[in-house]
């Protein structure tokens, strides 16, 4: 990383300051549901929260979605679904579930219905809404 790249600082009111480079920026050409106008994000990692991370909007530092990496098997995402998301299926795609505090009990739940899909090589991402209506939007963390 050149000193120029390291000069960028992302200031999140919730999570603090993070240094990042232009190569860390992930483009979401279609935005994500609820934030359709936001196209550029960075993943923020905090050690005490690992493996959770935060998908933070470059243009809206108040927007940061907690994510947790999930295995595609958990999601029943087949290559055809990935193709739907216009991502090359042979690419090492990473899948994340959006995490939030469940309404009752204050524990963490994950959205298995609409995973965030990121291609780390092209740095393109999208949110796929899976057609399976039995998939929960606030599932307890997998046991």
């Amino acid at each position: 990383m050149t000193p120029l790249d390291a000069a960028l600082v992302y200031r999140s009111p919730k999570l603090g300051d993070f240094s990042y480079g232009t190569e860390d920026v992930i483009r979401f050409p279609q935005g994500i549901a609820g934030y359709e106008q936001l196209r550029q994000f960075v993943l923020l990692a905090r050690d005490e929260c690992a493996p959770f991370m935060f998908l933070a909007a470059l243009d809206r530092p108040d927007v940061a979605l907690p994510l947790v990496p999930v295995a595609p098997a958990t999601l029943d995402v087949r290559p055809s679904r990935a193709a739907l998301a216009s991502l090359p299926t042979e690419a090492p795609i990473t899948y994340y579930a959006v995490a939030s505090i469940r309404p009752n009990g204050g524990e963490i739940g994950v959205n298995l219905r609409a995973p965030i899909v990121i291609n780390p090589e092209t740095r393109l991402g999208c949110q796929v809404i899976l057609p399976d209506e039995t998939l929960p939007i606030a599932a307890p963390l997998p046991a």
Binding site: Y10, K14, L15, G16, D17, F18, S19, Y20, E23, D24, I26, Q30, I32, A33, G34, Y35, V42, L43, L44, A45, R46, E48, C49, A50, P51, F52, M53, D62, V63, A64, L65, P66, P69, V70, A71, A83, L84, S86, P92, T94, Y95, V98, A99, S100, I101, G106, E107, I108, N111, R113, A114, I118, P120, Q127, I129, E133, I137, A138, L141, A143
Partner: protein, 97 residues
């Protein structure tokens, strides 16, 4: 809003590459078929609204979120029944100053 009347089997063209066809009408139910390029997302509205809502809730200032995440993270790390999904995506780390 543009309002059009169509019969079963008749179609609408929306732009150059989206086609909407009325497949069947039974009582209050209408079956529609949509053909669109694969990069055009098609969702039932109520599902899309639920996902919007879930995303906004997740991104909003949730009191106690980082504590709850740290708690859940500790639980996940204790279990480790299988290696976590590999994550090759680069992420930014807190700046050290």
């Amino acid at each position: 809003m543009l309002v059009l009347t169509r019969r079963i089997g008749e179609r609408l063209r929306i732009g150059p590459d989206i086609e909407l066809v009325v497949l069947d009408v039974r009582g209050r139910d209408v079956r529609l078929g949509v053909s669109a390029p694969s990069d055009v997302a098609i969702h039932r509205e109520e599902i899309y609204l639920k996902i919007q809502d879930a995303n906004r809730t997740a991104a909003a200032d949730q009191p106690g979120l980082t504590d709850a995440l740290a708690r859940a993270a500790r639980t996940l790390r204790r279990r480790t029944p299988e290696p976590p999904a590999t994550d090759r995506t680069r992420s930014a780390r807190p700046s050290t100053h």
